[in-house]
Amino acid sequence: MSISLFIIYKVVLVVVVFLISLFIAMYSTYAERKVAAFMQDRLGPNRAGPFGILQPVADGVKMFMKEEIIPQVSNKFLFILGPSIAMFTSCITGAVVPWGTSLHIGGHEFALQVTDINIGILYVMAITSIGVYGIMIGGWASNNKYSLLGALRASSQMISYEIAMGLAIIALVMTTGTLSLKGIAAQQTGWHWNVFYQPLGFLIFLICAFAETNRTPFDLPESDSELIGGYHTEYSSMKLGFYLFAEYINMFISSAIMSTLYFGGYNMPFIGRLGLSPNLAAILGIVFLFAKIFFFIFFFMWVRWTVPRFRFDQLMNLGWKILIPLSIFNVAITGFFILLLHK
């Protein structure tokens, strides 16, 4: 593959992945409102376009047209940097997710993954831990004590649950033997999905994913029905939109990561037996991956409209006293089984 072709292919892939994450995040807002409405026996937004399908566009236009207020006493540079970091970190995680195997066009092989670094999972962890900065900087730069407290609440939650998440991933890595997301996805052909080998690990990861994306029952940073907005109290217009939008991109990406790590990624049982051409199989793989992702996004929303919010001390108790010991136990028991089976 020539260097120019390589660059074009990567740029196209990056742009496509970026646009898809934005598009899905956009329609997640619509889906959230629809799911919420349906679970409450309502219809949800149905005015903008047929079935309200243009609602996200209308919301976006509204966000952009709103008056933008930057508090006089705030630190202006950091005030703008906050939502930028939140948006940036949620967008770049998609780079390591393998969206499919690879397409063969004109004698070239195009892998459907922006970059396969051999430490893909750690990259995801690193980006998650950087995401805290967006919230902290935003909350501090607002120069409002409620924003600051909200930021502290949010970041202490995210830091606490990162630990259990990391430990759950360690147990997973012990079974897979690789840190590359592509390698992990490729291992899970047929029914060899990691969720069957790591059920406890998956449960811990799932709970931590809810906490990391600030979704109910862990949406204490926002607590829209109890507190004022939390860390984004002072934000208005599209900067607030960035914070809210970043949450939906995070939800999409964490669904993708969960599908890849535990639910076989682009693999589907029985698909290998059909004897399809590699290109068709790859495209079907993308479809399967997105089906899994959409299920998880639905699950996120399903839980949001079912389970009530935690109290803050309950949140910390769950994180430190239950999930972390449980994940350490999971690591230990995984190690025990690996020893047992490899003898």
Partner: protein
């Protein structure tokens, strides 16, 4: 003590079992309930496209009826104003001039008849009090407005149109039961009326 509802539960502060403390079965139960609601029929009525039927007993904006010949039935007796608990009705009586027989049925008529729609509580006592079957509450809504004065409805808004096709249908309010309620000699409120008939 008898329970106030059949759904009340006695609070038991027993220690939860291990399975209960896991909360996962409870969460799954909750998820099942919300999923059931997901597929349930929705109760929303998309308003401008589909409108909800009014109940048969709905009481909306008043109408002053005309008789078959198009003459106003109201004789300005003032019983409705007396009956009105909100004191929303005022009227000024006038004598019918010769030649106005086609306009007013009785010899006395209301030259001014006003209902303050902000005071009115739509109780329907006026239509019960009316001996001439002249005032009725209909299934029309009172329109909104920005000015309080516009809510004082005069005869221009209350009296139904002369045109036979544009008459306002109040047959729902004129059931046999209401007619009986107004005329049955057994009811105390009708005693005076029936006596006067004799």
């Amino acid at each position: 003590m008898q329970a106030l509802t059949t759904r009340s539960k006695v609070a038991v502060n027993k220690k939860m079992t291990f399975v209960e403390r896991l909360y996962i079965p409870a969460i799954l139960g909750g998820l099942r309930i919300t999923l059931n609601h997901f597929f349930k029929k929705k109760v929303t009525i998309s308003y401008p496209e589909e409108k909800r039927e009014f109940a048969p007993v709905f009481r909306g904006q008043h109408v002053l009826k005309r008789d078959e010949n198009g003459a106003e039935r109201c004789t300005a007796c003032g019983l409705c104003a007396v009956a009105c608990p909100a004191e929303a009705i005022t009227m000024v009586a006038a004598e019918r001039k010769p030649g106005e027989e086609n306009l007013y049925r009785e010899e006395k008529y209301a030259s001014v008849y006003e209902i303050n729609m902000l005071r009115c509580i739509f109780c329907g006592l006026c239509e019960e009090a009316c001996p001439k079957e002249a005032i009725f509450l209909t299934d029309r809504m009172v329109d909104t407005d920005y000015v309080r004065n516009n809510f004082i409805y005069g005869k221009d808004k209350l009296v139904e149109p002369m045109d036979k096709d544009k008459r306002i249908d109040v047959s729902k309010r004129e059931t046999t039961e209401t007619r009986e309620f107004k005329t049955h000699p057994g009811y105390a409120h009708n005693k005076l009326y029936t006596k006067s008939l004799k």
